[in-house]
Amino acid sequence: MSDFILQAVAVSKTYYSAAGELEAVADINLTVCPGEFLCIVGPSGCGKTTLLQLLAGLLPPTRGEVRLAGVPLTEPHPDIAVVFQKPHLMPWRTVRQNVLLPLQVAGLPTDEADRRAAEALSLVRLADFADVYPKSLSGGMEQRVAVARALAQHPRLLLLDEPFGALDALTRERLNRRLLHIWQTRRLTAVMVTHNIREAVYLADRVLVLSPRPATVSAEFSIDLPRPRPDGIEYSEAFGRLAYEIRQAIRE
């Protein structure tokens, strides 16, 4: 009945702690269409992680409602996979075993799980590192494992919390290109929060701008750039103009 795969309807989140109340997210409305890549940009500390956890069903909203395909979302759902800000790998599991974790939790038969893990690892170009422990991986590789772990779940919706934010610019660029390729071939729906405007323009069909805390949607931009993104598009005039407009929207 709903054309949207994901919806946030007047969602607010207030944290209550010993230090008092803190409103992190205020009255957010947003919709995500199937197959869309949506980026949400906002300054650090504005409530991006909070918003993503709300969309993932990991946090209950204080007010409002998140809906997955029209159905209220009150807990994590098997159609949703999350890539967190940090890789969150289990150091006692090898790369392959880390990717297998969600499949073991879901109780998949071993051969099916093995097949999916191998496929996900080759998508992120880590097949050669399957039997290595996380401690010998670089930061970029760790996040690729985290992406593979999410992809192995065969989600309909991928939620990403600035997954490459801690990496150097070149690595991030390479991983974003890879991510776009996977998103396109797998026909995924993706929502990524980030504080990096150029990253958002490069990846997204649509960019939402968040205000400083409490986060609320202050502007929306359609990104009409060709798909698949041609090489060097980051240096085109159209790209630069969009990035500039979004930058202005954040500044106000």
Partner: protein, 273 residues
């Protein structure tokens, strides 16, 4: 909170143990034990020879060795060692089960820890030897009272390490498990147990050594069998070589248990190499 301050002391020991294990290979550990043993025996032989003490004060290594062989071949040593071993194993089983179970729930419930913590810590100021007579009145002078003393001695360090281990589980991994819709049991077996294992094994190392002390303390206070009893008996007989033989057997048991846990640690924590 009470327990946390104690935990600092224990986790310090644990960390030192971990470091050693990472740098030293198992064979190196065994080699150093043998080297240390040879040195001790050499110094001992020298002291006995130069000092010229009577045998009931300081017997030389050879006399002790002969007594050890005699006691072992006659079945006397085994008869007593068997009792002590059963007490140790029983005490470890009981103590470990109780401590890890209680530790898990204390780690999960700050309220429970606030309620029980002060009493658990206070109970540690009572030395095992002071409550041993009471336990022997209650549970008799057979093996059961020693098993309980042993379990009590093992309980605290394992409890503390369980609490520290479970508390150290990364919040991010907990959120990950939640996002995967893991059940309580899956989170326990796939996350909490493996994450707490390094600290837990550190507690176990301390625990197995203490368990030997616990058993002997119990046997000292009232028993008719066991290595602790044998030590008391040889004192009465002025048979110091026999006493040494019993002490050596005790040390060997402690060492074997310690090496067993070390081996277990190496296998289970291979991912840190």
């Amino acid at each position: 909170m009470f327990i946390d301050s104690f935990s600092k002391f224990y986790s310090l020991q644990v960390r030192r143990g971990e470091k050693q294990n990472r740098t030293l290979k198992f064979s190196l550990e065994v080699a150093s034990i043998i080297a240390g043993l040879s040195l001790t025996v050499a110094v001992w032989a020298l002291a006995a020879k130069l000092g010229g003490y009577p045998v009931f004060i300081l017997p030389d290594p050879l006399t002790v060795w002969q007594e050890l062989v005699k006691a072992a071949s006659g079945g006397l040593l085994w008869y007593h060692a068997q009792a002590t071993l059963v007490e140790i194993m029983g005490g470890l089983a009981l103590g470990l089960t109780a401590a890890t179970t209680a530790g898990y729930f204390l780690a999960k419930s700050p309220l429970l820890e606030r309620l029980a913590g002060p009493y658990i810590v206070a109970s540690q100021s009572i030395p095992a030897i002071a409550i041993a007579p009471l336990l022997i009145i209650w549970f008799g002078s057979g093996k059961l009272s020693k098993v309980i003393i042993c379990a009590l001695v093992v309980f605290f360090p394992v409890l503390v390490n369980t609490i520290v281990g479970i508390r150290s589980v990364d919040d991010g991994l907990q959120t990950l498990m939640r996002s995967l819709r893991a059940s309580r049991w899956q989170t326990f077996t796939m996350l909490e147990v493996p994450a707490a294992l390094p600290v837990l094994l550190g507690g176990l190392k301390i625990g197995v050594t203490l368990s030997v002390i616990g058993a002997v303390v119990g046997e000292f206070v009232g028993a008719d069998r066991g290595l602790g009893y044998l030590i008391n008996l040889s004192k009465g007989l002025f048979n110091t070589p026999l006493m040494f033989a019993a002490l050596i057997t005790l040390a060997a048991i402690s060492l074997a248990l310690y090496l067993l846990v070390s081996g277990l640690e190496r296998r289970l924590l291979a991912w840190r190499e």
